[in-house]
C-alpha cells in the first residue's frame, strides 16, 4: 500500500464523517457544507484512485467534479436566497422553502 492507498483510505474516512453531517443536518447550511465537502473529497479520491490504478491521466474527470460542485453550490445557495434559480437578484420574494430540520 503506497502513499496513494493511505490517502485514499483517509479520504474514505473523511467521507464517512461528511456523510454523517449530511444526514444529521441539523440546519440547511450543514447539509450544503457537507455536500460541498463531499464533492471535494470525491475529487481527491479520484485523484488517489488514478494513481492507485496506474492511470493518472484520467485526472480531468476530477476537474468536472470541481466544476459541478461549484455550480451546484451556487444553485443551492440561490435556491435558498431567492427560491427561484432564474432570479435576477433583487430581494423581492420571500424564500420559498424553509428548512424544518431533520426528521
Amino acid at each position: 500500500m503506497g502513499v496513494a492507498g493511505v490517502g485514499a483510505l483517509a479520504v474514505l474516512a473523511a467521507m464517512c464523517l461528511a456523510m454523517f453531517r449530511a444526514l444529521r443536518g441539523p440546519t440547511v447550511y450543514d447539509r450544503i457544507l457537507a455536500v460541498n465537502h463531499f464533492g471535494t473529497l470525491t475529487v481527491l479520491l479520484i485523484a488517489a484512485a488514478g494513481f492507485l490504478s496506474g492511470r493518472p491521466e484520467f485526472l480531468d474527470i476530477s476537474l468536472v467534479y470541481c466544476l459541478i460542485s461549484f455550480i451546484g453550490t451556487v444553485a443551492v445557495l440561490k435556491f435558498f436566497e431567492y427560491g427561484d434559480l432564474g432570479h435576477a437578484g433583487r430581494r423581492d420574494r420571500p424564500p420559498a422553502v424553509r428548512e424544518s430540520g431533520a426528521p
Partner: protein
C-alpha cells in the same frame, strides 16, 4: 465465502435498487417519486458497470503497457441509459411543476381527492 465475495457487489446493488423502488412505491410525494426513480435507475447503472469490470483490468482506453481492459460495451450502454434517466427526470419534473399549477399540491393523495371532488 468465495460466492459471497463474488456476489457481494451485486447484492449491494440489488439493495440499492430496492431502496429506489421502495421510494417510488411508497412515497406519496411526486418529487420523491422522481427521486426514487432516479435512485432505481442509477443502481441499475451500477449493476451494468459491475458486469463490465474485469479484475486487474483498466479503463478501456488503449494504452501502452496494458493488455487487460474492462469491457467497454456496458459503459456505452450506460452512457445512453444515463441520458435516458436524466431525460425522464426532466420530463417528470416538468409534469410536476404543471401538476402543482393545476392542483396546488404535489401529493398523490391530495390530487386524487381533488379529482374526486370535482367530478369530471
Amino acid at each position: 465465502m468465495e460466492a459471497f465475495l463474488g456476489h457481494y457487489n451485486y447484492w449491494i446493488v440489488v439493495a440499492l435498487m430496492m431502496a429506489g423502488l421502495c421510494t417510488v412505491a411508497t412515497s406519496g410525494n411526486l418529487v420523491k417519486k422522481v427521486i426514487g426513480l432516479n435512485l432505481f435507475q442509477t443502481s441499475v447503472f451500477l449493476f451494468f458497470i459491475s458486469v463490465g469490470k474485469m479484475a486487474g483490468g483498466t479503463a478501456p482506453i488503449v494504452a501502452e503497457g496494458w493488455t487487460r481492459y474492462s469491457n467497454p460495451l456496458p459503459h456505452v450502454l450506460i452512457l445512453t441509459a444515463i441520458v435516458v434517466g436524466v431525460a425522464t427526470t426532466a420530463l417528470g419534473l416538468a409534469l410536476i411543476v404543471r401538476i402543482n399549477r393545476a392542483y396546488s399540491t404535489i401529493e398523490d393523495e391530495e390530487i386524487r381527492r381533488a379529482d374526486l371532488h370535482r367530478l369530471p
